[in-house]
Symmetry: C2
Subunit: 457 residues, 2 copies
């Protein structure tokens, strides 16, 4: 029964890839306000697509910032279940540009991979769903279930508008369950059920010393150096054994069960060191790298800057130094509470002679976990296995998808994370890419899944 749908996807593969390329060419970078028009373009692309293939409703819903693409298909009839499908059309900045082998916004296929910013996160995965919708409608004339499409343009900047609209329009988004394709598999061609995600919080520290850069010869020895002060603060937050030393940080953390540790030990994991090009991995004292990335909270300094960064030497005591910090949280941790613990620690640790300002990340999220044996999860595992011809594994992951927490908290509907990214995709990095065979098998998985959970006639 699914043959003609799958055949459609195969026969039209080139057109679909070309269409995806056009989608990827739009530099819809949400962290940079100069890309406002590109954001609109990307949203329009999806609306037009859904109209063309026959969705009853497809529109850009205005927000305080970037538009949300909302669409509805009700052709499966009142008896059929309704799925809320979520994805995002915005992408991370492409910098540093000089490290890209090809233009991040001129998609290029090399060695069976499609290289472009957003190829995997998340335009590529969103497009697979659009293509599957097209295949069903162009062959069977209908989808096996009713669909509500929710594709936002602010995922990479915290999904603020989505958060507001989810609260404001509760019935609009009401559905029987949700499907999100913004995650990955533990290895290429290894179908993976993601039953746990990390929460997220962050803040920015700015240390201000002198009100202008000072000559280090005239003032060195009298004035506190803000970079050194910041270094003391940062070094006091995580030790060399990768243990976060902020008081209370681990309070309430749900411990890993022996079963989970066994499962994590057996889960096929990439070679982290090889993928990162380092000589060894490091992880929290008492935990393996896999356990730490999957099931323990993390603390990262994402960026730091202060003083002279140009050619040569400039003998100054700089006026300010800034560090950007984000944490990934596990079940049992409250993001706002963790954020407060971090701020308290920073203020307590700040040395005399400098002023410290902490800018709290506005949006944060709790961690997420589902029961691996939920029927909707089981059917997803079966669809995966059928398409990829391999047994599906169950894992937790270090990533955070705030919307997962919000949908769960607001609507209490089951959420299925149908992810197809691979560890080699280089999300958020130069040379992001997505394997073409994952593109094919991923669409096949989605076809099987809609049929499995949809109306069986």
């Amino acid at each position: 029964m699914s043959e003609q749908v799958l055949r459609y996807l195969q026969t039209n593969r080139d057109n679909l890839l070309e269409k995806l390329a056009n989608f990827l060419k739009i530099p819809s970078v949400s962290t940079d306000s100069n890309h406002q028009q590109d954001i609109e373009k990307a949203a329009n692309f999806i609306v037009t697509y859904l109209h063309e293939i026959g969705f009853d409703l497809a529109e850009k819903q205005p927000t305080n910032n970037y538009p949300l693409v909302y669409a509805e298909y009700n052709g499966a009839g009142p008896e059929a279940p309704t799925v809320l499908f979520y994805g995002h059309y915005d992408v991370q900045p492409a910098d540093p540009l000089e490290l890209w082998k090809s233009d991040p916004f001129q998609p290029e296929v090399r060695d069976g991979r499609l290289y472009a910013r957003g190829a995997s996160d998340d335009k590529g995965q969103v497009f697979m769903h659009l293509a599957v919708f097209e295949a069903f409608l162009k062959t069977e004339g209908k989808l096996p279930l009713n669909v509500k499409v929710c594709i936002e343009g602010e995922e990479e900047i915290g999904s603020e508008s989505l958060y507001e609209i989810l609260h404001a329009k509760k019935e609009q988004f009401a559905a029987d369950f949700a499907v999100i394709s913004d995650s990955g598999m533990v290895a290429k061609n290894q179908p993976t059920i993601l039953y746990g995600l990390k929460g997220f919080t962050g803040l920015e520290i700015t240390v201000t010393g002198p009100d202008h850069d000072l000559h280090s010869g005239m003032y060195g020895g009298a004035i506190r150096n803000p970079i050194m002060a910041l270094s003391h603060i940062l070094a006091s937050m995580k030790d060399k054994e990768e243990v976060v030393t902020v008081e209370g940080f681990y309070d309430g953390v749900e411990p890993l069960t022996d079963d989970e540790r066994a499962m994590m030990a057996n889960a096929p994991s990439e070679d982290f060191a090889k993928a990162a090009g380092v000589d060894q991995t490091v992880s929290e004292k008492g935990y393996t790298a896999v356990e730490h990335t999957m099931g323990r909270p993390t603390f990262e300094v994402n960026g730091i800057f202060g003083g002279y960064q140009g050619e040569g030497t400039k003998t100054i005591i700089p006026s300010t130094a800034t560090a950007k910090i984000t944490c990934r949280l596990v079940p049992g941790q409250d993001p706002e509470n963790v954020q407060q613990l971090l701020e308290d620690h920073i203020m307590k640790t700040a040395p005399a002679g400098v002023k410290v300002h902490v800018e709290k990340e506005k949006l944060s999220a709790k961690a997420y976990k589902v029961e691996p044996d939920h029927p909707l999860i089981k059917k997803a595992a079966e669809a995966y296995s059928k398409a990829f011809q391999a047994e599906t594994v169950y894992v937790r992951m270090g990533g955070s998808i705030p919307v997962v927490e919000w949908i769960q908290a607001l609507y209490g509907m089951p959420i299925v994370l149908l992810g197809f990214g691979t560890p080699e995709d280089r999300l958020h990095s130069p040379n992001e890419s997505f394997p073409l065979d994952s593109f094919d098998k991923g669409m096949e998985t989605i076809v099987y899944y809609w049929q499995a959970v949809g109306n069986q006639e």
Copy 2:
């Protein structure tokens, strides 16, 4: 006898200030290779000036980098002493530009101060000497002593070429003594004899973790964060009591005598905290801020950068982090040795999972000290007091002038630091300026000094 010289300077004050303005308008920034032509322009300005006022010889001497301005006046006759006058025509970068109240290269007088990059360091002070040469030659037709002029264009980038040329052309620079005006007074209108300067060394640390920026959700917990690694390294080099904790750093440091500590306690010192806009000063445990700045070694991080520095949040583990470090040294410390101690400490402290590269600053300098009661020093003190109508104080300072050490080491000639900068000049900072009355009294001091040390007929 000096009346007509002084009168000339007063009568021609406006012309001289306009001429100085033209000198300051040339953005001769040596740390930025884009300013090569401006460097040449600034050198040409001096050569032309010296020709016009009647120097026998004035030329740009080529180097591997920026030209050295060399000139000779031998009109005082074989009986008269010969002075080697040193200064520099290059300036520090002006960034951050947005903090300047007026264009750094469009000199502007506000409240009796001349605002421009280089107004004090060192174009303003160099120009005062040129103007005094002019005044003598235009009125008395001769200078009281023979002069060798040596004005370089690489002081702000380490004076590499000067170092080579001083070694290569020893007899060219041979003189009875040297005068350098590239320093300051402890307070405006407070004549100051600088009898000690600090040495200098530095290095740049680059910590490399993953070979590309990593998604903090996928790799956080497995990969060492280079910014955190760098923070641990930096924090281990100087403690919160401003004591450098690098093993051996203080070995051989010449201790401050009770006399010096008493003199430093009495020396009129600026209010460091007020000048820097901080709520309090900090200094090495056991030493006052004045003692630390004048007579104890210092360690400063001049700049730091790594990871994401743009708008908003980017959840990455960055690939690299870099810090620029310079130290000011005192008598008894060997720069190369200190540099090695720093590198050893850094390598020893570097945590597993990252690579650390140390780039050593090529040029460093030993500290400098002269006997306060040397006759050439005493005559300088008298000239100061006569011009500024105030008693001259004796101090050491935290600044470093490598050329001072080189001239001393190579030629063993006495060196007189005839500085006129004031603590409010904001050297190396936005809104650098120089007080106009220091300009007048400074030139007066130089006139008295040349007459005092020159040929008395």
